[in-house]
């Protein structure tokens, strides 16, 4: 149970970090008026935020799965 809790926290930290990085990239892309800003947003920002959301969703699955020692 303890290991599972630590794993969940790590997932949340990674997810938060990825989302924050992606959002910072998005802000830079919005303030930068250049065709490359779209590329920066689409290929860096969206990927980072998407990965962050994915890691968070994985953490939900991880938290919802029953601990191994309680099975049987």
């Amino acid at each position: 149970m303890k290991l599972r809790a630590i794993g969940m926290r790590r997932f949340l930290r990674v997810s938060s970090a990825l989302i924050i990085l992606g959002l910072l990239v998005e802000i830079v892309s919005l303030l930068w008026f250049h065709p490359l800003a779209f590329v920066l947003f689409a290929f860096v920002g969206v990927v980072l935020i998407g990965l962050g959301i994915l890691v968070y969703l994985i953490s939900l699955v991880f938290a919802a799965s029953p601990p191994t020692e309680n099975r049987g």
Binding site: I27, G50, Y56
Partner: protein, 205 residues
């Protein structure tokens, strides 16, 4: 920055603050409120930011200033100020026959359901050529310029329909068999490589 962009930046800032809370103290997700906050801060709000950001970038890429901010397009932007009504893009831009702030987009997008998306893919290809591969010396539209982009506005207009030359070849024009701009009728387009020899229009003078 427009009002919509300011709101989006504010939304992003709120999301960053919320995500930072879970970065520093992930243990708050132990309670029900924390779990709901995590779902909002790490799933709903970031997804909303991506959606709004994509929309903002798509709208911004329709602006004339956006297109000509690319070095390769500078001369094309300059060609909009040629003081000669025979220059089709300049005539449309200067007389507001197309919205001046969306002059490029008005004539260079496919008016189909996936038109703007196809244009963005073409734009990405050009960015790839510009920064990774070798940019072409002369910028050309792959597949040629479609008449449908002219007819999107001109079809049905009295001055266009009642023109005897147009009406005589209407089927060829609508089926794109005869090009409006390369058939010898309206062939003075941007001519971006010859701008040194033409008189330029300066607004307000």
């Amino acid at each position: 920055m427009t009002g919509a962009t300011e709101i989006l930046v504010a939304l992003i800032a709120v999301t960053i603050v919320l995500a930072a809370v879970f970065l520093v103290r992930p243990s708050i997700t132990a309670g029900v409120t924390g779990k709901i906050l995590a779902f909002v801060g790490l799933c709903i709000l970031p997804a909303l930011c991506v959606d709004a950001g994509m929309s903002a970038h798509m709208q911004r890429s329709e602006q004339t200033q956006f297109c000509i901010s690319c070095h390769a397009m500078e001369t094309h932007g300059l060609s909009l100020y040629v003081d000669d009504p025979n220059y089709i893009p300049a005539n449309h831009f200067q007389n507001h026959l197309v919205p001046a702030d969306q002059a490029c987009y008005a004539c260079h997008t496919d008016y189909t359901i996936f038109g703007p998306f196809k244009d963005k893919l073409q734009g990405l290809k050009r960015i790839y050529l510009q920064y990774v591969s070798t940019p072409p010396k002369v910028i050309e539209i792959s597949g040629g310029y479609s008449n449908l982009q002219c007819l999107h506005c001109h079809a049905g207009a009295r001055s266009f329909e009642e023109n005897p030359i147009h009406s005589a070849m209407m089927d060829s024009l609508t089926s794109n068999q005869v090009s409006c701009i390369t058939s010898g009728c309206h062939d003075t387009i941007h001519n971006a490589d010859q701008l040194g020899n033409v008189k330029m229009w300066r607004p307000g003078q």
